[in-house]
C-alpha cells in the first residue's frame, strides 16, 4: 500500500487505487458541470473559482499531516477567525501591510502551539482539546468583533490578495501549489515524513525508536496554526473585511478535503497527491453547484454526503464482499 512511508519509488511507479478513483471522479465532475453550465470551462472563471477553496486547501495540507499522526484538529476555522481579528486590530492600530500579515501568522502559530501543548501536556486526545479550543477561539472572535466588523486594511496588502500572475492565475492559487509541492517533498521524501508515518502507525514503537513523538505532535499543530494564519491573511485580503462569522463552518470542508483525499482518520496512511486531487474535486464540485445557483447550505449538505460516502463506500464494498464469502450477515 502506498503512502504508508514506503519507498518513494514505489509511489511513483504505480498510481494508487484511491488517487485513481479521485482522478476519475474529477473528470466526471468536470464533464457533468460543463454540461450543466456553459460558463464552467471558461479558463479565467475556473481559476477564479479556485479562490473559493484556496484557503481551505492550504489548511488541508498540514491538517493531513496531523491526521496521519493519528490526531485531529477541528479548531482550524476558529484559528482562522482569531487570526483575522488580530489582523483587524493590528490594522486599526495603524500597522502597515507586512506587519498586519505578520501579526496574523504569529497569532496562528500561537493558537496552534496552544493546541499542541494542551494535547501533549494534558495527555488528552486532540478531538477533545480542539473541540474546546474551537469554541474558545471562536468565542474570542465573537467577544472582540461582536456586531461590528473590521473594514480598514492597508491597500498594498489587499492588492496582493487580489493579484494575478499572467492575468489568469491568482497569486493565492500559486501559493497553494507551491506549499503543496513543499509538503509533498517533506512528507514523502524526507526523514521527517517517514517519522510522521511511523508516529501515526504506532506511536509507541516510534517513541522507543528514538523519535521525538511529542515534539512532532506539537510542531504539527503549530504548523497547522501557522497555515491557518496564512489562510486568514489571504481571506482578509480577498474579503476586505472581518466579521464575527468569518470562516464559520469551514472546518467541515477542510476535514472533508483531507478524508476524501485518502488520508485515513485512524492515522498512518495518506498522500499529498490525494489531498491535492480531492481539493480540485471538491473545488470543481462547489464551483459547478454555485454556477447553477445552488445555495451555500445545500452545497455544504452535498459535501456532508460526500464526506460520509468517502468512508462508507469502501467499507460497504468490503462488507458486501465479506457477506458474500460467508454467505450470511455476520
Amino acid at each position: 500500500m502506498s503512502g504508508s512511508g514506503a519507498s518513494p519509488l514505489a509511489i511513483l511507479r504505480r498510481l494508487p487505487a484511491w488517487e485513481s478513483v479521485l482522478i476519475v471522479l474529477l473528470a466526471a465532475v468536470v464533464i457533468l458541470n460543463s454540461q450543466l453550465s456553459p460558463y464552467f470551462l471558461d479558463v479565467s472563471n475556473l481559476f477564479d473559482s479556485t479562490l473559493n477553496f484556496d484557503e481551505k486547501a492550504m489548511i488541508a495540507l498540514p491538517l493531513a499531516l496531523v491526521i496521519i499522526t493519528g490526531q485531529i484538529d477541528v479548531s482550524v476555522a476558529s484559528i482562522v477567525s482569531v487570526c483575522a481579528v488580530a489582523m483587524g486590530l493590528a490594522s486599526n492600530a495603524g500597522a502597515d501591510g507586512t506587519l498586519v500579515v505578520a501579526v496574523g501568522l504569529a497569532t496562528g502559530l500561537v493558537a496552534g502551539l496552544i493546541n499542541g501543548l494542551l494535547v501533549v501536556g494534558l495527555g488528552v486526545h486532540s478531538i477533545v482539546v480542539t473541540i474546546g479550543t474551537l469554541s474558545l477561539y471562536r468565542g474570542i472572535t465573537e467577544a472582540i468583533v461582536q456586531d461590528g466588523a473590521f473594514t480598514k486594511f492597508p491597500k498594498p496588502m489587499l492588492a496582493l490578495g487580489r493579484a494575478y500572475l499572467f492575468n489568469v492565475v491568482p497569486f493565492e492559487t500559486l501559493c497553494w501549489l507551491v506549499i503543496a509541492a513543499i509538503f509533498a517533498v517533506v512528507l514523502h521524501l524526507t526523514i521527517a515524513g517517514r517519522r510522521i508515518f511511523a508516529i501515526g502507525n504506532n506511536a509507541q514503537a516510534a517513541r522507543y525508536s528514538g523519535i521525538a513523538v511529542d515534539r512532532y505532535k506539537v510542531a504539527l499543530f503549530a504548523l497547522t496554526g501557522l497555515l491557518c494564519g496564512l489562510a486568514a491573511a489571504f481571506l482578509v485580503c480577498r474579503l476586505g473585511s472581518v466579521r464575527q462569522s468569518i470562516a464559520e463552518g469551514s472546518e467541515l470542508q477542510v476535514v472533508t478535503i483531507v478524508v476524501l483525499g485518502g488520508v485515513s482518520i485512524a492515522g498512518g496512511t495518506g498522500t499529498i497527491a490525494g489531498v491535492v486531487l480531492s481539493t480540485l474535486l471538491i473545488g470543481a464540485l462547489t464551483y459547478g453547484l454555485n454556477l447553477v445557483n445552488i445555495p451555500g447550505l445545500v452545497v455544504d449538505l452535498c459535501l456532508g454526503i460526500l464526506l460520509i460516502a468517502s468512508i462508507s463506500v469502501p467499507r460497504a464494498i468490503r462488507l458486501i464482499a465479506l457477506w458474500r464469502r460467508i454467505g450470511q450477515p455476520t
Partner: protein, 509 residues
Amino acid sequence: MSLSAETLAEVPAKGPSLEVRGISKRFGGVQALTEVSFSLRAGEVMALIGENGAGKSTLVKILTGVHRPDNGEIIVDGRPRSFANARDAAMAGITAIHQEAVMFEDLTVAENIMITHPPRLRSVRAIDWPRLRREAASHLAAIGADVDPAAQLGTIGIAERHLVSIASALAFDAQILIFDEPTAALSLKEIEALYVIVRKLREAGRSIIFISHKFDEIFAIADRYTVLRDGAFVASGAIAEVSREQLVGMMVGRPITHVYPKATAPIGEVALAVESFSNATEFRDVSFDVRHGEIVGFYGLVGAGRTELMEAIFGLSHKSAGTLRIEGEPVTISRPADAIRRGIAYVPEDRGRSGGILPMSIGANISLAVLGRLGGGPFLSSRGEATLARRFIDLLSIKAAGTAQRLDQLSGGNQQKVVISKWLATDPGIIILDEPTKGIDIGSKIAVHEFIGTLVSRGVAVILVSSELDEVLSLADRIVVMHRGCVAAHLDRGQANRELVVRYASGDG
C-alpha cells in the same frame, strides 16, 4: 448452583465431562488445528502443553465459542454442542481465565463478576443491586479471595484481578475451566493460593484445563497432560508417568539436550554504570554496572520495577535522582534519541506494540532508529536503507521476499528478527533486552540465546530482564534481583541458585 464452602462434595467419576473429536481449523493459508482429539474427566486437571504456534490458543478460542471449528465435534457431558458465540460456550459451562484477563476496568468488582447474569427483582426485570453485591461477595469468599466487591476493577492488583476472573467463571457455574498461563504475573504466595483454588475446584468435580509453559507448575498441579505440536495432537497421558525431557521432546519433535547455551566471552571495562537511580513511584536507589562482554540478568516479579528502571535509563521516562555513566563519562539522557546516540539500545518487552511497525516495509523498520545516519541529509536514502536492510537480512537469516516487503507479512519469529535488526543497526555498545523470549517457541528461544552469545562475543554489554528463572540463571554472569522497586541482591553466577533468587525476589531475603 455455585461453588461455596458448604456445598463442596466429592463427585463420583462418570464419563468424560468434555470430549473433543477431530477438531480442525484453518485461517486463510494457515492450518491452525488438524484433527485434534482428547477427553477430560470431571475432577481432573489436565495440562495442555505445546510451543507457541502449536494451536493451544486456537483450541481455547474454539472451546470458548470465539471461533467455530471447520469440522469436528465438541461433546459436553455426553451431548454434542456447537457454540455461536462466547456466551453459548459459557452457558454450556465452559469458561476461560486468561493471562491478561479482559475485564471492565470502569465497573466494580461485583458487577464484573455478575455482569452476564445479574440477579433481578421478581416483579420487574430490574437489576437487584443489593442482591448482586451479596452474591458477588459470596463467590469471592468461596475461593478465599480478599477483594472488596465495591472496588473499581481498575484499582486492584493483578493477583486480585485473577481472583475476580475466577469468581466470574464460578458465578457463571462453569464446569470446565480453562486457565491460560495464569501465573505469569503472580508472586510465589499468590501462586500457592492459586493451586489451593485449583485443587478445591478439582475436588468439587470441575474439570480444568491448565495451560502453562512452566514445568514446575505442570508437575505440581496436573493429573494428566495433552501435548500439541504444529496444530496436531501428539500424546496424552498421566503426569505421573512422564518426565520433563519426554514432554519437551514431544513438544518439539526432537530430543532437546540444551535449551540455554551459555557462550563465554572475555569481559572488559565497565560500559554502563548506574548510580542511585530513583523515580517518584516505581524504583528507589538502584545502582549497578555492566561490563563489555558481560550479561547482567535482572530478575524479579511483576511490580518489581525492572521495566520502569530500564525505561528511565533509556530516557523514556523521568528519573527523580541518580546518575548514569557510559564508559566512565557521566551522561544525561532525557530522551530515547540521546540514549541511542550514546550507544544504548532497548528491545522492549511488548514487541507487538513497541517493536515493529507492521504496515511498513522491512527496510523502513530496520532503518527507523538510524534514519539520520544513512546519508542524504534531511532526505530519505532508499539506497542506504536497502543496503542496511540487506546486511541484516543476511546476518540474521531473515526469511523475506525483499527489503520492500511489509513487516506484517512475515512470521512472528522473523518479525522479531527485524526488530532486533533495528537495534543492531544503531551499533550499540549496551543493549537492554526486556523479556526477549517471552511467549515465543523453543526453537526461536534457542536462536535468541545463541544470538545473545554472539552479542557478548563482540563486546556488547547486555542487560537481560527476564521472568524466567532458568533463563537468567543459565545465561547471566551476574544477577540483580529486584523487589518492589529496590535492589534486593547482587549475585554472582557462582553464588546464585533458584531458592536464593526466588527468596530475594519475594522479599524474603
